[in-house]
């Protein structure tokens, strides 16, 4: 695949994944652009990977994490994503976004990364393991922990709704 085509095809999804992961669309734009630039620098190799989009997403995540450490953002107090809403966004979608953000906030950086790669990047467990250079078992247990947290939150939310 040519780089230009790869860029057009994957930019939006990666940018949105970063926006969701870091709750900052400005930061998401910066780190996505930088990640694609690094992919362009190494395109001959990156294009040979099974999932060059996964490689780019991981690079973007790491850039976002470095940036977060430097600026010491307080994620729990940061406003929801800033930016114009899509015209056709339903109430349910907005509620979903709030729930996802709440869930991601409760996770470690690595757990957040794994979850976003799985549910936004649509990577399989082996693909995530290869992208993050760790064992499949580690990814599975990370996903399991994240799912348990999500399940506890969902039950907590149901309990509140029932009162």
């Amino acid at each position: 695949m040519e780089f230009d085509e790869f860029y057009r095809e994957h930019y939006s999804r990666i940018q949105r994944a970063m926006a969701l992961g870091f709750r900052d669309s400005g930061l998401a734009d910066e780190i996505t652009q930088e990640a694609f630039y690094r992919a362009l620098l190494r395109w001959r190799r990156v294009s040979k990977l099974e999932r060059p989009d996964a490689w780019t997403m991981v690079v973007a995540f790491n850039l976002g994490r470095d940036n977060s450490r430097r600026s010491r953002r307080h994620k729990s107090k940061a406003p929801l994503l800033v930016g114009p809403e899509s015209e056709n966004v339903g109430q349910q979608d907005v509620e979903d976004r709030m729930l996802v953000i709440e869930l991601l906030d409760s996770l470690t950086h690595r757990q957040r990364e794994v979850l976003v790669l799985r549910y936004v990047g649509q990577l399989s467990v082996p693909e995530i393991a290869r992208s993050l250079n760790c064992a499949e078992g580690t990814i599975k247990s990370t996903l399991h922990m994240a799912l348990e947290k999500a399940s506890r939150r969902a039950k907590g939310a149901e309990h509140v709704d029932d009162r």
Partner: protein, 339 residues
Amino acid sequence: MSMTDELQELFDGALASLPPSTPPPISGLHDRLRKRRVKRRLALVGASVAVVVLGLGIGLTGVPSSQPAGAVVLRVAPGTEASHRELSADAKVMRTRLELFGATQAKVAVSGNKIIVTGAPAELSDPNSPLTQSPSLLVRPVLCYSGPYVESSSTASAGSLPSDCGPYAIQKDTPTSGGGFSTPSIGLDPALASIPSTTPADDLANPDAVALLPGSTSQPGFGRYLVGPTELSLSSSVATAQVIKDQNGMWTIKVQLGTTAAAQWNKLAERYFHLDLAVDMNGQIVDEAAIQPTQNTYTPFDVLILQGGSGGVFSQASANAVAAALQSGPLPIPVQATT
């Protein structure tokens, strides 16, 4: 619906709620790449002398990972004779290495047929430490790519490596009507999957033979490389070697070539303009450069980034040790720590 499916629906909804993102024009990325090449060229012209003069002072980042190991005795390999002059030459290189490594308290002295290092870092007592090795840096053309080794019932021996990859051979970029270049998409050569990698010993003993070498696992997903005969050896040509972290958080070594080596490297790289060259360090590909695929004309450059090492990933200590060994130059006589 399972929890996994529910989560997937949740994420799908969350994504759908985000404002659409239009990618900025791609010309911005290409312009940035072009400017990077020009900047590097200007930096080379202006700073090459300063780099050589300051090189030994710039040295390495990081500090030795452990307390001094006390005295370490270095001896030549059994059956090898070494004169006092040769051991003294080794001791001189070892002093430079240890200083670059950050072990400023270490003292190196020749005693009889051995070298004694007092106040040595713990790394030196490892018989396989890069501090007592002379890393080879061989520049080889990349012929084609292979996936990882897969053992099969009809496993071919490493002796049956092809020198021609047929339809899987690396090809030059082709110019496009828009004035840019298009990189041909080439798959992995399936015929190589059942061939084991060339061992480091074979690679070192036969630098002029074709070799099938693993890449660094600091970049997961990259398999193996079929490389052609060595075109250039850079083992004694490093001006400075600086340890830095890359964007994946992995320790890498940024190597600045000396003036003569830089000229030799650029002559070679220009010959391989729009093709791939790889750097083979002791039987592993630690750097692979597609030579300026987006440019119309070649721009000289002289910095290599080495990734991975023994086992595939540099620790900070091993990166520091390799960088010290590269920058100090090879040991005239190989030595090893003995108990």
